[in-house]
C-alpha cells in the first residue's frame, strides 16, 4: 500500500496561501444542500421540534383562576416543577406506567420470540409456500389498530363471542376477557397479533442478508437445522432483534388506541389506564394542558431511559 502525502502548494514562504476558488461557485454549492433539505427541515422544525419545545414550556407553566369560573381574573405563571409534582403524585398515572412496564415485560418477549420463530420457520429450507405465509402473517399489520380492536372486541364480549360460547359448551368454563385482571392481557393479545408479523418481516429481511456460503459451510461442518438456527442465524439477526425490541418497548409505552376503544366494552379500563390515555384525558377531558404536558414529558423520559437501558445491556453482553 502506498501512502501519498500532499504538501501544501504554497508559494514562497511568507506569502498567503492560494486564494480560495471563485466565490460564486462556492455559494451555489453551499446553498444546494440547504435548498434540498429545506422542505424537510421546515416540516421537521414545525411539526416535531416546535411541539416538543412548546410542550416542555407548557409543562413549566401554571394557570390559576379566581372566583367561580375565573371571572375574577386568570393568571399564568412559571410553575417550576409544580406540574411534575402533580403528575407524579397522581397514583393513577404512576400506576399506568407500572402497568405498561408489566405489559412490556410479558408482551415484548412473547412477541419477539413469536416473530423470530415464524421468521426462522419461513426461512428454513423445508418451508412450503414461504411467500404466501409471509404475506398472511404480515396481514394483521395492514389492518388499522382501531379496526383490529373492534374486531377483537367482538371476540371478547360475552354473548357475542364465539370463543366464550365454545368454551362454555366444551369445558363449561366462562372466560372473562374483559375483567380487571385479564383485560391487560387481552390487549397484549391484540398488540401481539398486530405486530408479530411486522417484526417477523424485519427479521426475515436480516435472515435473507446472510450469505448462502455460511449455510453451506455449516452444512459441511455437519450442522443440522437446529444447530444452524442457534449458532448461525440467531447471532446474525441480532441487530434486527435489538431494533424490533426497542421499537416494541417504545410502542408499549405509547399504547393508546386499543385501551381507548376497549373502554366501551370493559368497565375495567379507566380513563388513565395507560400513560398516553392519562395525558390525553388530562389535556382534553380536564382541559389541563400544563399537567398533561408534564405527563407527556415524563412518558418520553421513561421511554428514552428504557430504550437506552436496553441498548446498554445488549451492547455490554455482546462484548
Amino acid at each position: 500500500m502506498t501512502t501519498q502525502t500532499t504538501t501544501p502548494t504554497s508559494g514562497t514562504p511568507g506569502t498567503r496561501p492560494a486564494a480560495p476558488p471563485p466565490k460564486k461557485r462556492s455559494t451555489a454549492v453551499g446553498r444546494a444542500p440547504w435548498i434540498l433539505v429545506g422542505p424537510f427541515l421546515v416540516l421537521f422544525l414545525l411539526t416535531f421540534v416546535l411541539p416538543i419545545v412548546v410542550a416542555i414550556g407548557q409543562s413549566f407553566t401554571t394557570v390559576t383562576r379566581a372566583g367561580l369560573f375565573g371571572e375574577q381574573g386568570v393568571t399564568t405563571s412559571f410553575a417550576w416543577f409544580e406540574n411534575y409534582r402533580i403528575a407524579l403524585e397522581d397514583g393513577n398515572f404512576i400506576a399506568s406506567i407500572w402497568r405498561m412496564l408489566l405489559f412490556g415485560v410479558v408482551q415484548v418477549p412473547v412477541m419477539i420470540v413469536a416473530a423470530t420463530v415464524l421468521a426462522l420457520l419461513l426461512e428454513s429450507a423445508s418451508a412450503r409456500w414461504p411467500g404466501f405465509f409471509r404475506a398472511t402473517y404480515f396481514m394483521p399489520y395492514g389492518i388499522p389498530g382501531v379496526i383490529a380492536t373492534i374486531l377483537w372486541s367482538f371476540l371478547y364480549v360475552p354473548g357475542l363471542s364465539p370463543i366464550i360460547d365454545l368454551s362454555e359448551a366444551l369445558f363449561g368454563f366462562t372466560p372473562d376477557f374483559l375483567g380487571a385482571g385479564t383485560v391487560l392481557w387481552s390487549i397484549a393479545n391484540i398488540v401481539t397479533w398486530t405486530y408479530a408479523g411486522y417484526n417477523m418481516l424485519i427479521i426475515v429481511a436480516q435472515l435473507k442478508a446472510i450469505p448462502p456460503e455460511m449455510y453451506e459451510a455449516a452444512r459441511v461442518d455437519g450442522a443440522g437445522p437446529w444447530r444452524t438456527a442457534w449458532s448461525i442465524q440467531l447471532p446474525l439477526i441480532r441487530p434486527a432483534l435489538v431494533l424490533t425490541t426497542v421499537f416494541s418497548i417504545i410502542g408499549t409505552l405509547q399504547l393508546f388506541a386499543e385501551p381507548q376503544l376497549l373502554q366501551t366494552v370493559s368497565p375495567a379500563i379507566d380513563s388513565q389506564f395507560t400513560p398516553n390515555l392519562s395525558a390525553y384525558t388530562t389535556a382534553f377531558a380536564y382541559n389541563d394542558y400544563n399537567v398533561a404536558a408534564a405527563q407527556s414529558v415524563l412518558i418520553a423520559l421513561v421511554a428514552f431511559a428504557l430504550s437506552f437501558l436496553f441498548l446498554r445491556l445488549t451492547n455490554r453482553s455482546s462484548r
Binding site: G30, L45, V53, R65, L68, V265, A268, Q272, F284
Partner: protein, 443 residues
C-alpha cells in the same frame, strides 16, 4: 455566502424555539369574551356554523334557512362529546377559531366556561325567552347572573320493563327503590337481572343521587360549596353497595353496551331505569318489539319523582362573530314546534326542553311499546318532578372519572361509599389546584 455551521444552526433553532415557547406559554382560554363589548346584530346576510353530533341536523337547519334568508346555518358533524367533539372544540377555541354554535352537554357547560369558551347570552337579551324553557333545565345553564347555553335536549328518567318477565317471576313493578330491592332476588332465581349498574359510567349513579335530593355542588357568592358526601348521596351509595353485594344487579354489562344488548335479547334483563332517550336504543335489542313498557322510576322515600340523565345545549362559542343571530337560531331550534318536530324526525333528538311542546309524534301511542302513550304517561310528568337545586360544576367530567375510578374498585373489594367520600376530597383538591374557591357544606 459563508457556510452555516451546525452550531449556528442549532443556535437559530434554539432562539426560534425560545420565542415559540414564550408564545406557546400563553395557555389558551385565559381571556374572557364576556368582558368585551357586545357584538351588535349584523344587519346583513350572515352564515353561521353549528358543530353538533346529532345526525342530519342540516335538514333541520334547512327548515330555518328557508324561512330566514338573512341568517343561514351550516351544520358540521362532530363526534359526540368526549369521544372527540369537545377535544375538537377546545382545540378550535384555543386556536382562536371555532364555530358560532356548538352542541355542549348540560354538564359540560361550566367546563367550557372555565376556559372562557362560551358567550353569556344574558348580554344578548336571552331572558325574554326564558319562559319558553323547562325551569329545571334553564337553571342548569344559568350561573352567576348569566346564561351560557340554550337547552337542546335532556332525558327525564323512567323505568323500562318487560311485563312478561315480571309476570314470569310473579313480581309487581316496583314503585319505590325499597320494593325494587325486594323483588330483585326473584329475577336472580330465574337467571335474570332486574337491572344493571354501570360502575364506570357514573352519570347513572349521579342521576339516582339527584333524584334522592342531593345537590353535589352549588355556586354561592363566596365560591363553590361542595356537598357530595352528604347523607342523601351516601344512602344511595349504600343502597347500591348492598345491591351489588347481593348480586341483584349485573355490573359487567353497562346499559346499551354490546354485552347488555346480547343479554337483553336473551331475556336476561327484566328492567332498566334510564332516560327517555333510551327508547330509541331499546329498539336496537333484537326481537324487542312490543315486549317493553315504561313505568315511572322507582322513588326514594324522600327527594323527587325523577331526574335527568344526559342532555345538551346549543351553546354560542366565544369566537362567534354573530352571537345575537346564533342565539336567535338556537331559541327557534329548541322551542319552535317546527324545529322540535324536525329534530325528532331527522335527528332523533332526546326530550325537548320546551315548556309547552313535546313534539307531535311523541303524543302518539307507540307501537314499539305495545301501544302505550309512554311519553305523555311517564316522561312528561317526570319533567315536573325534578330536583331544582342541581347544578353542574367546572370539572364535572373529572369528578365523574374520579368517582368512576373509585367505583371500579368495587370489583376488588372497595365500596361505592368510600368512592364518593374520596371523590369529594379529590374534587376539592382539583378545584384548589385551579385556584377556584371551594368549601365544604356545613353538615
Amino acid at each position: 455566502m459563508r457556510e452555516v455551521t451546525r452550531r449556528e444552526l442549532l443556535g437559530w433553532g434554539l432562539t426560534g424555539s425560545a420565542a415559540a415557547v414564550l408564545a406557546g406559554c400563553a395557555t389558551p382560554g385565559t381571556t374572557s369574551v364576556n368582558a368585551q363589548p357586545v357584538v351588535p346584530a349584523a344587519g346583513e346576510k350572515v352564515t353561521l356554523t353549528y358543530w353538533a353530533w346529532l345526525k342530519d341536523l342540516q335538514k333541520v337547519a334547512d327548515v330555518w334557512n328557508a324561512q330566514h334568508p338573512e341568517i343561514q346555518v351550516e351544520v358540521a358533524w362532530i363526534p359526540g362529546g368526549n369521544s372527540g367533539g369537545y377535544q375538537k372544540m377546545y382545540s378550535a377555541l384555543a386556536a382562536g377559531g371555532g364555530p358560532d354554535l356548538a352542541q355542549v352537554e348540560m354538564r359540560t357547560v361550566p367546563e367550557f366556561m372555565l376556559v372562557n369558551g362560551l358567550v353569556d347570552l344574558e348580554r344578548y337579551g336571552v331572558s325574554e325567552h326564558a319562559g319558553k324553557f323547562d325551569e329545571t333545565l334553564w337553571n342548569q345553564v344559568s350561573f352567576a347572573g348569566g346564561v351560557y347555553g340554550i337547552p337542546q335536549d335532556s332525558g327525564p328518567v323512567g323505568m323500562y320493563y318487560r311485563p312478561d318477565l315480571y309476570e314470569q317471576v310473579g313480581a309487581d313493578v316496583p314503585a319505590t327503590w325499597a320494593q325494587w330491592a325486594e323483588v330483585a332476588p326473584a329475577f336472580r332465581e330465574a337467571g335474570m337481572y332486574i337491572d344493571s349498574f354501570p360502575l364506570d359510567d357514573t352519570s347513572v349513579f349521579t342521576a339516582h343521587a339527584m333524584q334522592a335530593g342531593a345537590a353535589w355542588l352549588r355556586s354561592a357568592e363566596d365560591g363553590w360549596v361542595i356537598d357530595m358526601a352528604s347523607d342523601v348521596t351516601l344512602d344511595v351509595a349504600r343502597f347500591f353497595d348492598q345491591a351489588i353485594d347481593d348480586d341483584l344487579v349485573t355490573t359487567s354489562a353497562n346499559p346499551y353496551s354490546p354485552g347488555w344488548f346480547a343479554a337483553a335479547a336473551d331475556d336476561q334483563i327484566a328492567s332498566l331505569v334510564s332516560a327517555s332517550w333510551g327508547d330509541a336504543l331499546l329498539a336496537g335489542v333484537s326481537g324487542a318489539e312490543g315486549k317493553w313498557r315504561v313505568a315511572p322510576a322507582p322513588r326514594w322515600d324522600h327527594g323527587f319523582g325523577s331526574s335527568f340523565i344526559g342532555g345538551s345545549t346549543s351553546a354560542v362559542l366565544a369566537n362567534s362573530k354573530h352571537p345575537k343571530e346564533a342565539m336567535e337560531f338556537a331559541v327557534w331550534l329548541n322551542t319552535d314546534p317546527e324545529g322540535i318536530d324536525a329534530m325528532i324526525k331527522y335527528s332523533g333528538i332526546g326530550w325537548s326542553p320546551a315548556r309547552d311542546y313535546i313534539g307531535a309524534s311523541r303524543e302518539e301511542p307507540s307501537e314499539f311499546f305495545g301501544g302505550q302513550r309512554y311519553n305523555t304517561e311517564v316522561f312528561q310528568p317526570a319533567t315536573q318532578q325534578q330536583n331544582p337545586d342541581w347544578q353542574w360544576w367546572p370539572i364535572t367530567q373529572q369528578t365523574f372519572n374520579i368517582l368512576g375510578d373509585g367505583f371500579r374498585r368495587k370489583a376488588t373489594g372497595g365500596t361505592l361509599v368510600d368512592a364518593v367520600v374520596a371523590a369529594e376530597a379529590r374534587t376539592i383538591e382539583v378545584f384548589r389546584q385551579k385556584g377556584l374557591t371551594i368549601r365544604k357544606a356545613e353538615r
